[in-house]
Amino acid sequence: MSGAWLPVATLATSLLAATLIFALPERAWLARTSLNLGAALIKLGLVGWMIWGLHRGLEYAVEFPVAAGVSFVLRADALGIMFAGLSSLLWLFTTLYAIGYLEDSPNRKRFFGFFSLCVASTLGISLAGNLFTFLIFYEMLTLSTYPLVVHRGTRKALAAGSVYLRYTLSGGLALLLGVVSLHVLAGDIRFGEREILADLGAEWYPILVGLFVVMILGLGVKTALVPLHGWLPRAMVAPAPVSALLHAVAVVKAGAFGIVRLVYDVYGIELSYQLWLLHGLVAISALTILYASLRALAQQELKARLAFSTVSQVSYIVLGVGLFGPLSTVAALSHLLHQGLMKATLFFCAGNYAEELGIHRIDELDGAGWRMPLTSLAFTVGALGMIGLPPTVGFISKWYLGLGAVEAGMPWLIAVLAASSLLNAAYFLPILQRLWFRPGPAHGQGEWPDERRLGRLETSGWLLWPTLATAAFSLLAGFLASMPFSPLEWATRVASQEYLL
Amino acid sequence: MAILPEALAAALEVMLALLLLLMALACLVDRYLRRACRSFVCFAVLMALTWWQLRAPWLAAVEAVLGALLTGFSLFFALGFGAHHRLPRRDTLPGASPSGVRSWLLPLTWWFMAAAASLLLVDDVGTRLSEALAVLGPLALVGLAIIGLGLWGFVRHRHLLRRLLAFNVLGSGIFLVLAEVAGPRIEAQALILTGLIVALFGSLLGASLIRRLFILDGRLALGSGTGGKE
């Protein structure tokens, strides 16, 4: 227990930042910005330190009792730190982006305060060492994202916020019920302690299956599994950085990460397989992938199309978890990171188009590639990654997923993957074609919906650089996939622990 | 009292009990408010006599001062005695409608519970009801009757002053039952003493409220919720 303070310090950084931001006056732009960036950098450093420590075999854990029989446990393990690394890296970029995006708009203090609370919750989720702690941060995340979703305060935003709450709070309740029941059955289950549930004996298996279904209902809401995905497309009314946050980093990922934890660390992969739980996950995720891709095809709004694409892409993670075998685990975990990088890039780009040119619909994008080449390049990288073209990161995920499907004896899933890739191509390629190959206002035909010159470059630097950075990271993660500390390498490490232990 | 022959004491007790009942009745059914208040003062004096007769001289003194004098004063204050704004002399409000089952059911249950429990206390060995009634003594019986009357008044009347009167009568009935079932214990006297003080403060608060409400907007009854306990 050499570094018990590290997880606490990581969490405290964001909490403290949130408190200070709430305490600062609305006008204190400089103080708030430096606080935001400072906290994000410190946190990235701390997480990096923990990654290095874990690599050397150190252990970071801290716990204290909360009430009769439950403890608050923070513990950094290989799986958790992976998610923590993703969120703190993307956090830095999202914060930068948000600072530029919300320039001169009202209520920035509120926005950034809750933004920091959000990252604190996400980190808490990744560092939680038992279900109770996980639940605490999972619900904290729900609450701290609500003000971000309704940030604009328009009727549409408020309605979307209500829908969001209805879904997530009910999901949270289902999860709570499941977790409490598990606690009654088996006590305080720590992540990483194996076979507690398997030892209960066969007479409890039906109940365990029931509880699993209840908890998947709870987690599935945030993961946006069909048919629990309704809130996500509606939450598109939120500002672009919030969308990036919901889709790439925090909310959706928290759900997916929860499913990963539930299968690997609570039920155990063997027991889940034995109880046919994995088969259920495969079925529902395959359904989600295809259904959401089809829906995405029908969307004319850029953000709405991206939203349905998220629904479909996140289910790759669930699919990878559901396939029984180390390769699919690698696919699931690495996709957790890859999808985050790509989706953040895409949403940043969508935000850039909207801010600079006032573009919200896909048919307004004609020729935008020539007006905003760097942004469009980043968009292209993200979109090709989503389709899964080599050598992007998306290809790596799909490749391993396919191998995993064969390994698990479900080769028919390759058909699902192929179909979804085709659908991905069908809804992303037309956008790329419009961006680069259709004449538009950049060629003197017509006008942009609402053009604003935000900077000397194609748009404001605050908006452009984070976009380029995430795009670059997603490319790097693909090119350098076999290097140490790459997402793929780390996912392999986690998977080997899951299957060898 | 010790100096009186037993038969005389018993006769006195019965007489006192009957007088108490009569005064309670007079106080509760009278629509002329000043007369009702006067009846209440007489009732309180009789209560003081009863405490004297039950060998609780301290209680008698407290009842005379708090119950008769101060409560009486606060009641007449509520009437606006000697002040500019006087309450109307007669309560012309119709009684609360007896159709609300809920408003009757609860007080009735209340009363039956009190009566049953008092009976059970003496009925430990399983004597018959008629015998138990005989054992209970006239004061306890009258106490129960007064409780019933008080509850009736509290539920039926809408005029706030009359409800306040009903509350005071109800309280006295409970004191009587308490004194009978608990005997001459020091704890019982302490409870009654506390009860008397509470009743006084309640009456004072209530009286000043009635007065203020009448002066502010001529209100004599609460708009709704005239039911019993609910």
Binding site: I136, L143 | A117, L191, L216
Partner: protein, 497 residues
Amino acid sequence: MNALAVLGDEALHLTPSLWAVVWLIVWGPLLLGLVALYFPPHRMLTAAAAYLPVMAATGWLVATIAVSGPRHASLSLGELTLTWYLDGLAILLLLLTQTVLMASAVFAVGYCRTAELPSRPAAWLWPLLGGLSSGLTLIWIAADLLSLYVGLELMGLCAVALMLLPGEAEALAAGMRYLLYALVGSLAWLLGVSLLLGAWGRLDLAGLAAVAEPGAVTTLAVALLSAGLLLKASIFPLHAWLAPVHGAAWIPVSAVHAALVIKASFVILLKLWLLLAPGQMAAAWLLGGLGSLAVLWGGILAWRAQGLKELVAFSTVGQLGYLMLAFPLLIGTSEAVAALAWRGTWLHLAGHALAKAAMFMAVGSLVLSTGRSKLVELAGTSRRLPLPLLVFGLAAVTLMGLPPSAGFTAKWLLLQAAIRGEQWLWIGVLVLGTMLTAAYLFRMFRHSFDEQAPHLTYRRLPLGMDMMALLLALAALALGLVADWPLELLWPWGGRT
């Protein structure tokens, strides 16, 4: 179960210094209040400083009892003996009471000044708050029915008088109704007590628990006691008086009332049932059923409420319903279930007290600075009044039972108890109640986040008022994470170890 008696004999008696501390806590606030009647405080700091000795004494008492175990005290007045008992529960309730009272008193100083209350009634606020404090303290430490009666009445009369201070017709009418109900409630209580005294010849709880046998008289007595207490605690269906009273009262008064006064009746009720009706499972289920209806009906009323104060007041009705679930979960259940339910109940009580006081204060700030009291009129306030809304939000987290908060940990424990005891009905109640609570509390945010509303003019309030509310709300949150220490103090109780 009767171990209040057992523990009572084993427990130490109060040392003279502890006696002094107890007297200070019982009468100190009343004395301070009387001083303030003639010299009303004008600065929040003055009020806080004046209250500090009482807080310090409370802290010292808590520390002493926590370390050295429960204490027993008897007070002889001639032939009459009053018994007091200071155990973990009593001192924690004391700490809670003094915390909420101090915060409310400090808040009240600012409130009186900014709301420009008439000075004479405003001065009476102080002695009445002091009397309320004395009554509550007496109730927490009383171990006989006479002390409880005195405490209950002192508290009740002070509470009614506090409600009347605004002096408007609405407040007076609501107060009159409250007075009548409170008085009738106390008469029911008195009748119950007299039956117990007649049947068993004593009033001390420990002795009663030892000698009282279940039977018709005990049952009837407990029924009468309960009827009186349920009325005073505004438990469904006897809740009708609550909302009008709160709607008309001053904010600090509402805060104290909802946080503490109503709870006092519940605490007495629970104590009496555990001692006198340990086997009455059917009746306990009846109370649990009433609680469930309160959760649902209170939630629905709050959901439909138009006024801010009304919403918060109805929410109290619903939240009290959760507390009533303690009866079926504690009475006639196994040790493990009772242990969880016992802790969950007290945690919920404490969390709700802190959060509800904070919420009332937040509402007070909002109403005072906007001059509006309807929910729909608050559109757009989140931009101008972030702090009261933040407080409201934090308090709402506790009331909804979302983590991290005392409400959440309490719900966790209660759910666990219900699952273990296989009392599935209450699980449904807890789940439905949570959803309803979220539904009515988020209405508030929906309105306040609305940016398209016309902007109102706002009045600036002293920062100290909001800070007090914030401290209470944060305490309710923190209690959820550090609940272990206070909850272990509550254990063992009543002979179960």
